[in-house]
Amino acid sequence: MKQVITLKINGNAYEIAGEPRDTLLEIVRQLGFKGAKEACGLGECGACTVLVAGVPVLACLTLAIEAEGKEITTVEGMAAGQELHPVQQAFVEQGAIQCGFCTPGMIMAAKSLLDDNPDPAAADIDQALGGHLCRCTGYVKIRKAVQAAGEILRSAKER
């Protein structure tokens, strides 16, 4: 049976008719936020990662009704107008994007890591991104991009 689900995505409230079985991923994509991708649908690839209350979770394994009343951030909510978020900027500059399918999930996980720890060691990055598959296997540049984003964020803080 359909019911009204109210979600707060990237600072705006949305109402949509949905069922209990609708996943958060299905709903955010229906609402036009196509950054989060469905690849495995089973929690093995990380392509659907979004932030719920600032914490990265897999949208394909979260029911939309569970996320009611919580702040949801997708990759579309990262940039400020035309200006990319430092993590996005670093991914572009370091060439950490090949086909781009895994990128939104990687960026959400990287943002959450850098929010907690702006100077992560390579091992910390591997831990935080361990649940994300990149089938172009661009892992080395992705790790570099996260380190570069950390540098940008740290220098912005010092200023």
Binding site: L42, G43, L58, L61, T62, L63, A109, D126, G131
Partner: protein, 333 residues
């Protein structure tokens, strides 16, 4: 992949949850982290008429401490939060090795202990199984991995199960019949198709961690093909408590899982009254591993049983050594 249709409830109290579960007569499933329930529902290997979300129940999120050490942990506490609690080292090591960061943000301690047993042969899509006779785990009467076997050999892969067993943790269970406390090992049965001793109407409320005596050490180790996001080929945990002299073992416990159908407490009583020495550890480990009846390759079909048995012995030995070292260093966690 779409989820099948189900009714949804989000009770606010344990009593209400137990009532809902009893009313559903086994057709309800508990949703905590959802990281195992939802894939199962999507694959149609789990069926649920009612999904009961227990994340909104305050009691299940509570953590109680005494003298700065954690003594009870609510069943719905996330694995990420568990990693930061004042618990024995082995529990923190185990929590940090489960799956990947996102799944630890979602998954719970209770959910990890109630992880279903795994078999790579069985855990395939509906399409793959179409036209084939079901195996034991899918309600049939045969096993494709062990054609001569009389029951399912799916492997127990929870990382917290052997850890909490070695630590002597008890689970507090609530059902319509009332509340009871059982040791963690009593939550399991030696049947891969139906590995849990709890029925569908019971709910784990919290876990009781015993305070370890001064001069205790614990350790957890896991071998898997990948560092993150992989189930254990073998995992093991150990606890050593030393006598007042600081060198003689007073209490020892160990458990392992990953390549067995039932998470197993292994006998290491031979260490009690001894001081650490390579020969003593070798003897204890040889005896402990001998007791493990059946090594199943179900969780990774391409790794032979001989390698797993050898790995189990090596992991167990390293766990005992690390626990002993921590106990002897005077650091009690």
């Amino acid at each position: 992949m779409r989820l099948p249709a189900f009714a949804y409830a989000s009770p606010k109290t344990v009593e209400e949850t137990v009532r809902l579960l009893a009313q559903a007569e086994g057709k309800a499933k508990i949703l905590a982290g959802g990281t195992d329930l939802l894939p199962g529902l999507k694959r149609r290997s789990i069926t649920a008429e009612l999904v009961v979300n227990i994340k909104g129940i305050g009691d299940l999120q509570e953590v109680e401490s005494r003298n700065g050490e954690c003594i009870t942990v609510g069943a719905a506490v996330s694995l990420r939060r568990l990693q930061g609690l004042a618990l024995p080292r082995a529990a923190l090591q185990a929590a940090s090795r489960i799956a990947a960061a996102e799944l630890r943000n979602m998954g719970t301690i209770g959910g990890n202990l109630m992880l279903d047993n795994r078999c790579w042969y069985c855990d395939r899509s509906r399409q793959w199984w179409r036209g084939k006779d079901p195996c034991f785990k899918r309600g049939g009467v045969q096993c494709y991995v062990f054609p001569s076997g009389s029951q399912c050999r799916a492997a127990a892969v929870s990382d917290l199960a052997p850890t909490l067993m070695a630590l002597g943790v008890e689970a507090e269970i609530v059902s319509a019949a009332g509340r009871r406390r059982v040791p963690v090992q009593d939550l399991y049965r030696a049947d891969g198709a139906c590995p849990h001793a709890l029925d569908g109407e019971a709910l784990i409320m919290r876990f009781h961690f015993p305070l370890l005596p001064a001069g205790s050490g614990t350790a957890f180790l896991k071998v898997a093909k990948r560092q993150t996001l992989d189930f254990a080929l073998v995992n093991a945990a150990a606890r050593i408590s030393l006598a007042d002299d600081g060198v003689t073992c007073k209490e020892a416990a160990a458990a392992l899982s990953g390549s067995v159908v039932l998470p197993t407490v292994v006998p290491v009583g031979r260490l009690v009254g001894k001081q650490i020495a390579p020969a003593i550890l070798d003897e204890a480990v040889a005896e402990a591993v001998k007791e493990i009846g059946f090594i199943t390759p179900a969780a990774a079909l391409d790794v032979p049983a001989g390698y797993r048995r050898q790995t189990a012995a090596v992991l167990l030995r390293r766990c005992l050594e690390e626990a002993w070292a921590e106990a002897g260093s005077g650091v009690t966690q």
